[in-house]
C-alpha cells in the first residue's frame, strides 16, 4: 500500500547511511554543492549490516517511494563480510516486499564510501528516475 503520490511530486527516497562511512560521503556531496533530489532523506545507522528488513517495509508503507541503502561495502569498520550481510538483508527485505505486493525495484543498495559523493548523487538520480517510471 503505497501512499498515492501525484506524478508531479518528487519520489520520496529514504536513504540509510552509516555513521562513519557513507554519511560523510553524502555530506561531501552537499559540501560540494552537488544537486540531488530533495525527496532523498537520510537516516544514519552504525553499520549497513544492522538495518532491519522490517524498517524498509515500514518506510515503503509510510510515505516513501523507495529505499536506498548506502552500504559500508569493503570499507566497513566492523565486519569484513559487511557487503554479504547487507546483501542478505536486501534479499530478505525484497522477499518481504513481494509478500506485501510492493515492487522490489523500490529497494536499492550500493556501497558508498566516505568520499563517494559523485557516486551517491548518480545513484540517487538514477533511482529517482526508476521510481518515476514505476509511478507512471
Amino acid at each position: 500500500m503505497i501512499v498515492d503520490v501525484k506524478s508531479t511530486v518528487l519520489p520520496k527516497i529514504l536513504v540509510f547511511s552509516t555513521d562513519s562511512i557513507s554519511d560523510p560521503g553524502i555530506d561531501l556531496a552537499g559540501a560540494s554543492h552537488m544537486d540531488y533530489s530533495t525527496g532523498a532523506m537520510v537516516i544514519s545507522v552504525p553499520c549497513s549490516s544492522g538495518i532491519h528488513p522490517g524498517w524498509i517495509l515500514h518506510a515503503l508503507k509510510n510515505g516513501f517511494d523507495g529505499v536506498f541503502i548506502a552500504a559500508d561495502g569493503t570499507d566497513c569498520p566492523f565486519l569484513e563480510d559487511c557487503t554479504a550481510r547487507t546483501g542478505n538483508i536486501v534479499a530478505a527485505a525484497q522477499a518481504l516486499l513481494k509478500e506485501n505486493g510492493i515492487d522490489p525495484m523500490r529497494l536499492k543498495m550500493a556501497a558508498i564510501c566516505s568520499v563517494c559523493s559523485e557516486s551517491f548523487v548518480s545513484h540517487v538520480e538514477k533511482f529517482n528516475s526508476v521510481l518515476l517510471k514505476l509511478e507512471a
Binding site: 562513519s20 560523510p24 569493503t74 570499507d75 564510501c113 566516505s114 568520499v115
Partner: protein, 698 residues
C-alpha cells in the same frame, strides 16, 4: 595521530603539533590504499576525529615547534601557532571566503596540479575544518605606499575583474583614487618584484588605479552622503582643506568623529583645488574626490579662519594643523598639547600619497588622544616614512597611460602575489561569522612536557633532480603523488586526464625506483612503498579506464607485506605489463607523447624504447629532518640518510639517542601505512614506559 591517541588512551596528556592546517598527513590525500583498496579517507577520517575529540589531546594545527629545551622537569617546548588570520571559534568552515578570494596559489594538497585560494580550507575532510589565510607579510607594493593603500589588493581585485570592489577597497584607505592615479610617483611600481625579474616590467599599478577610478566615477553610483555624526566628545577641528587635512578628516569621520574642516579659501582641496592639468587631473575629478570626504560626513567650512587655540575654546576635543614644509624636520605628524601637526605640501603635488599618509597617521594619533589609548597598533597600518625615502626633487609626472580593461587584465595577470594574501578584504566582507581579522597576531605558547615523540614522516624525492626523466620539462611526466590525486574521488579535474591536453591517457608507464636504490640520487636504499603504490595505481587506472595499457618498469617487485604478493599477482592477472628494466631517459615526441628509453634486463636485453602517453614517476621517500634542528642541545642522532636513528633497531624500536625523545613512523625510515601505525604503537609504548619509570605519570 596513532602515537597521540595511543598515549592519550593510556592516560597521558598529549599535545599534538602539526604544521599544516589539518591533521591527516599524506595518507588523507591518497585515493585508495593497498592491498585492500580501502578508501583512504574512510580509514583516516575516524582516526582524525578520534584525535580531535580526545579529551586528553590538545591539538595545535598550523603550528611549528620552535624549540625543545630540557629543564629540570622534562622538556619545555615552544610552539608557534602560525597566524591564520581567522578566528577558529567563529569560522564554521562554510568556504564562502574561498569563493571570493582574489589570489590563487598552487594547491599543496593536490601536488600543485590545481589552484587553491590564499584563504583556504585544506581539503574537504580537514580536521579542524577551519579556513586559514596564507600571508607572507605585506606585498612590497602595498608596503611601499606612503598612503597605506593595499596596492596588491587593488591589483588582485582588478585581476578578478572586480574594479568596483577595487575602488571601494581604495576608498577604505584614501578618498583620492583618481588624484593618486594621476599624481603619484608610484613607489609601488618601483618596488614591484615583477619589475625586478629578468624580462618583466612592473605591474602598471597607476594605470590600473586610473581605470578603476575613472570607471567608478563614470558609473551612476553616487557616494552616499552621511550626515556628520553627533558626537560631542569626538569633535575635531582640522585647519587644512588640502589633501592631508582632508585625508585626516575623512578617516576620522569614518571612525565616527564629528569633523569640521576650516579653510580661509573659498573652495576645499588646497593645492589640488584647481586640478593638475599637466598630470591629467581635472578639476571635476578633484571635486568628486572631495565629495568622498563630504560623503563620509565631514563638514567643510570655507572662507573661515580658525586657529587651534580658538578651536580649543570652542570645545573641540582636538585640532589638526599643518606646519610649513621643512625637509630637515621629522616627516611625521607630531602631537603636542592636544594639537596634531604635520608637514604641509605646498608645491609638491607629486607627494600626494605622503600627504594622505600623514593625514591617516594624524587621524590615528587624534583618536589615541581623544580615546586615551595607545596608537601603536593602528599606526602599523600606515608605516611612518623615513625621510630619505621621500624624493628630494620633483620626479616629474608620468601621466599614466590610459589602459583598456583588457590591457589591464593582461598586465595584472602577471602579478606574482608576493605577499600571497593581497588584503583585498573580500573574505572579510563575505564571512558570515565575522571570523576574519587581518590584524591578528601569531600566538606562541610554551608547553612543559615529560617526553617528546617525533612523528614528522618523510618527504617525497623531487624528480626534477633526475632531469633525464623529464619531470617539470614535459607536462605529461607526473609524480605518483599527482597520479594518486588524479585517482582520488576528491580529485582535481574530476577525471583521470593527462595534464598537457586533457586527453584520457591510454598507455601509461610507471617508472619505479625514481630516487630510490640509486646512489647517484643520494638514496641507495629502497623506499619500501613505491612498488606497492604503483601496483595499486595500476589497478585503479585499469578499473577507471578499462581500455588503457599500464606498464610498470621495475628492477625488483617488492611486494613483501601481508597480502601484498597476492595483490601483485592480481595486477598481473588484470593485464598490467611488468617490464624488468631500468629507465634511463624519457623524451618527448609528437603530440607531447613520451618515449621511454630503458635497459631491458629480461627478454632481449640491451637498450630499448617504448612509447607512452603519460609517464608516472614512482618517486621514493627521503628523510624529513627539519625537526632535528629545533632540538638544540638534545639533537637526536641521525643516520647517513638523515633519518632519525633508532639506537637499537632490533629490541628498542622508537628509542632515539636522547633519553625521553622517541621517534614514530617514517621519521626513522620509510614505511608503509601498516608498518608506520605499528611503529607508532611501539614508540608510544617506549614513551609510556619512560614516563612511568621516571615517575611522570600522575
Amino acid at each position: 595521530m596513532e602515537s597521540a591517541v595511543t598515549l592519550a588512551d593510556m592516560g597521558f596528556d598529549v599535545a599534538l603539533v602539526e604544521k599544516e592546517a589539518s591533521i591527516g598527513g599524506k595518507m588523507i590525500l591518497l585515493s585508495k590504499v593497498f592491498p585492500t583498496l580501502d578508501c583512504s579517507s574512510c580509514i583516516s577520517t575516524p582516526k582524525m576525529a578520534a584525535v580531535a575529540n580526545h579529551p586528553r589531546i590538545t591539538l595545535f594545527t598550523y603550528s611549528n615547534v620552535k624549540s625543545v629545551k630540557r629543564d629540570a622537569h622534562g622538556f619545555r617546548v615552544r610552539v608557534v601557532s602560525r597566524n591564520s588570520y581567522v578566528d577558529p571559534q567563529k569560522c564554521t568552515g562554510c568556504s564562502q571566503c574561498e569563493t571570493v578570494c582574489t589570489v590563487a596559489r598552487p594547491d599543496q594538497f593536490n601536488d600543485g596540479m590545481i589552484a587553491r585560494r590564499a584563504i583556504y580550507i585544506p581539503f574537504p575532510q580537514s580536521v579542524p575544518k577551519k579556513a586559514v589565510i596564507e600571508k607572507k607579510g605585506l606585498s612590497p607594493c602595498s608596503q611601499a605606499c606612503p598612503a597605506g593603500i593595499r596596492a596588491h589588493g587593488i591589483v588582485s581585485l582588478a585581476r578578478a575583474g572586480k574594479f568596483r570592489e577595487a575602488a571601494k577597497r581604495h576608498l577604505e584607505d584614501s578618498p583620492f583614487p583618481a588624484a593618486l592615479s594621476c599624481l603619484c610617483y608610484a613607489p609601488c611600481e618601483n618596488r614591484c618584484t615583477k619589475g625586478k625579474t629578468k624580462k618583466g616590467a612592473p605591474i602598471p599599478i597607476k594605470g590600473v588605479s586610473s581605470l578603476m577610478a575613472n570607471g567608478y566615477y563614470g558609473s551612476n553610483d553616487q557616494v552616499a552622503i552621511k550626515t556628520a555624526p553627533d558626537a560631542p566628545e569626538k569633535r575635531v577641528a582640522v585647519m587644512d582643506a588640502g589633501p592631508a587635512g582632508l585625508s585626516a578628516a575623512y578617516h576620522l569621520a569614518l571612525n565616527g568623529y564629528e569633523v569640521t574642516v576650516f579653510t580661509k579659501d573659498s573652495a576645499p582641496g588646497g593645492i589640488l583645488a584647481e586640478g593638475v592639468p599637466e598630470a591629467g587631473l581635472s578639476r571635476e575629478l578633484v571635486a568628486r574626490e572631495i565629495d568622498n570626504v563630504i560623503g563620509a560626513g565631514v563638514i567643510i567650512d570655507t572662507d573661515t579662519s580658525m586657529t587651534p587655540e580658538e578651536a580649543g575654546r570652542r570645545g573641540f576635543a582636538a585640532a589638526l594643523a599643518p606646519v610649513p614644509w621643512n625637509p630637515d624636520l621629522v616627516m611625521d605628524p607630531v602631537v603636542k598639547d592636544g594639537i596634531v601637526t604635520y608637514p604641509e605640501l605646498v608645491d609638491r603635488p607629486y607627494l600626494l600619497a605622503h600627504a594622505i599618509g600623514w593625514g591617516r597617521r594624524a587621524a590615528v594619533m587624534v583618536q589615541a588622544l581623544v580615546e586615551k589609548r595607545n596608537s601603536e597598533d593602528a599606526l602599523v597600518l600606515v608605516p611612518a616614512l623615513k625621510r630619505e625615502k621621500i624624493p628630494a626633487k620633483d620626479p616629474h609626472y608620468t601621466v599614466a597611460t590610459k589602459l583598456s580593461e583588457e590591457n589591464v587584465q593582461e598586465a595584472v595577470s602577471g602579478c606574482l602575489d608576493c605577499g600571497v594574501c593581497s588584503e583585498c578584504r573580500q573574505c572579510v566582507e563575505v564571512c558570515p561569522g565575522g571570523a576574519i581579522d587581518l590584524a591578528m597576531k601569531p600566538s606562541t605558547c610554551e608547553i612543559d612536557t615529560d617526553s617528546v615523540v617525533l612523528a614528522t614522516g618523510f618527504r617525497l624525492f623531487d624528480p626534477a633532480r633526475k632531469p633525464l626523466l623529464g619531470y617539470s620539462r614535459y607536462p605529461n611526466v607526473i609524480t605518483a603523488m599527482q597520479m594518486d590525486r588524479l585517482l582520488a574521488p576528491t580529485r582535481p579535474y574530476n577525471a583521470l586526464l593527462r595534464p598537457s591536453d586533457g586527453k584520457i591517457p591510454g598507455n601509461i608507464a610507471f617508472v619505479l625506483c625514481t630516487g630510490s636504490r640509486d646512489v647517484n640520487a643520494g638514496n641507495p636504499r629502497c623506499s619500501r612503498i613505491c612498488c606497492m603504490y604503483s601496483i595499486k595505481q595500476a589497478q585503479l587506472i585499469m578499473g577507471a579506464l578499462p581500455i588503457s595499457e599500464v606498464t610498470i618498469y621495475y628492477i625488483d617487485i617488492r611486494a613483501f607485506g601481508k597480502g601484498y604478493d597476492e595483490f601483485f599477482q592480481q595486477a598481473e592477472g588484470m593485464g598490467t605489463h611488468f617490464v624488468k628494466g631500468k629507465v634511463v631517459r624519457v623524451e618527448e615526441v609528437k603530440d607531447q607523447n613520451l618515449r621511454v628509453h630503458f635497459e631491458d634486463m629480461e627478454g632481449k636485453g640491451g637498450l630499448r624504447q617504448a612509447n607512452h602517453d603519460l609517464v608516472v614517476l614512482s618517486v621514493g621517500a627521503i628523510s624529513n629532518p627539519g625537526i632535528v634542528k629545533v632540538l638544540g642541545d638534545d639533537r637526536v642522532e641521525q643516520d647517513e640518510l638523515s633519518y632519525i636513528r633508532e639506537v637499537d633497531g632490533t629490541v628498542e624500536p622508537g628509542r632515539t639517542s636522547v633519553d625521553g625523545i622517541f621517534v614514530a613512523g617514517a621519521a626513522s625510515g620509510p614505511k608503509d601505512i601498516p608498518d608506520s601505525v605499528v611503529h607508532a604503537g611501539a614508540a608510544s609504548a617506549q614513551a609510556a614506559s619512560y614516563l612511568i619509570r621516571t615517575g611522570a605519570l600522575k
